[in-house]
Amino acid sequence: MIVQFIDFFRNRMKMTIRLSCGLLVLLVIIDIILGLTGGKHHAHTWVEHYIPGWWSIFGFVSCTLIIFLSKWYGHLGIMTSEDYYDD
């Protein structure tokens, strides 16, 4: 059953990607609506209040930074062959 469920989406990749993109847009729209309707009173900082979709930007930028900075750091010589410690 699990496999069939996964395969359903895998076989309809275009639809899955469109659905996911729709979901992302929906999230930003909800954030804007929350900002307009005063639903952000739990927010702590200025950026959260006044930048629409702040956490979307934050999430995406964080993810990108983590991937690229970590890989850059790894390729400085931190990543090495598996037999590095073997003599």
Partner: protein
Amino acid sequence: MIDFWIHPAAILIIGALLLPLVRGSRIVRNCYFILVPLLAFIDVLMMDKGTFGVMQFMDWSLTFGRVDRLSHVFGFIMTLMCMIGTLYGMNTKGIKEIFVAWLYVAGSLGAIYCGDYLVLFLFWELMAFASVFLVWFRGRKQSLSIGYRYLLVHTFGGLVLLAGIILRYQATGGDISFGPIGVDSPSLYTYLIMIGFILNAAVPPFHAWLPDAYGEATVAGSVFMCAFTTKTAIYALARGFAGMDILIPLGVIMALYGVVYAVLENDARRLLAYHIISQVGYMVTGVGIGTEMAINGTCAHAFAHILYKGLLFMGCGSVLFMTGTSKFSNLGGLYTKMPKTFVLTLIGGLSISAFPLFSGFVSKSMIVAAGFEEHLMWAAFLLTLASAGTFLHTGLKVPYFIWFGKNNCSEETWEKAADPPVNMQIAMAVAAFFCIFIGCYTPFLYNLLPYPVHYHPYTAYHLSESMQILLFTALGFFLFVKKLEPEVVISLDMDWFYRKGSKKFMWIARNPIQAFDTAWSELYRVAGLLPLMKISRFWSWFDWHGIDAVVDGSARIFGFFSKKLSWVQNGQVARYLFFMAGGAFVVLVWMVTR
């Protein structure tokens, strides 16, 4: 004090000691495996709050059972995890893993319920010395050296802790009670005790033992190890160091450090180990903030973390158990072969990533919110950034590169891959149930916490915030997934200093020091030993021919005469008469001839 109080650690220790005596069918043994941790769990549930098990030892009053809300929440989750871990590990060959695992959990429970530093130290060391066997039992060539490294690092930590305890004992005039240490006026012993604790919490730069050992431990062993050592340390920090400012930056560094190394990691279990460091970073930050909300958040996150991290280690452990590998570069596309393991591991991944309705959502956010409330904006934002990294790796990278992605499996791996034995599946299902239950029904966890909870995770804004961070992280993942393709590498970490450092030390010992030692020995032999031998030979000769000759010669002369004399004086009257007559004859002749 109630007369009848049983320490849950005692149940596990006695249970472990009786384990070799449990014979009979597999069912009997399995029932015993379930019964002992269950008894310990029931014992924790039935315990009243108060102080128990006070014993007089020499000048000290030792407290084995301080039961309050803080120790209760940790005791609860430790015994619960012991049940789950035992259930998971009980199909392993032999009983030795369960035996040491129970002693290990007993060490953790002993440290949690103790009321003074001496008992704490005793159980602290029990944890290290029991858990190292979970690494050694893996039985690979490198297991032995990794185990020894783990043990040496923990012995070092234990000694630093002991030094702190002794200095504190001296400074306070004999106080060994374990409580808030006075973080406002820290002295040397405060820092020593803190280093002892944060070494076990795997705070950089004292963290490299963790991925080293947890990546190598046995399949069930790592499930136990991921729960107990670091979280017992968090308990100890929460007990003694709440509000210690330095822990805030240390915790934030931890949270990010683990995330960075998780990007580079090729082994699923080592990746999870790095994420322990990251997650424990949140707890360390919570302790550093030290407010009631932050301590609640720390305890809640430790509670949730033990379950979802246990679940993740069980999931990746199942992959290792069935296929023989946990490296992303040797896996991929397994969702058709191990679908149940995939779903259960994904639940762990969603929980650690703080998805709404999963446990991390109601625990992690409490610490971040405590940071915002204390106006520690930089800490709160960096922790949120780290949480994006958590989802990136544990929620996306681990499931993607094991169950989807490019199929890197060898034919043998693919053939062997299947969902694990039923007991492992049940253990994972139990942990998964709690991950969702905690996330959905917050009073269960919140009522266990040390302080009253005034935090509501399920607000529209918090839901919107979390979903945006998580799903836009997912967007980043799928856009840059090529960048994250597994590379067959290892990453150098702080252990480089003692692994390469010890090699350098051995080289120095083998080469310059050995050469100097050899030269010195030769010099000593030529300049010291040879003349000494000559002199002693001369004296030996002199002794033999000079002194001994004189002494022996005199002795021989006396011997000769005494022998002669004894011949004369042998008591025979006839001989005496003969000599008398002879003598008289000689005198007579002399007189006549004169």
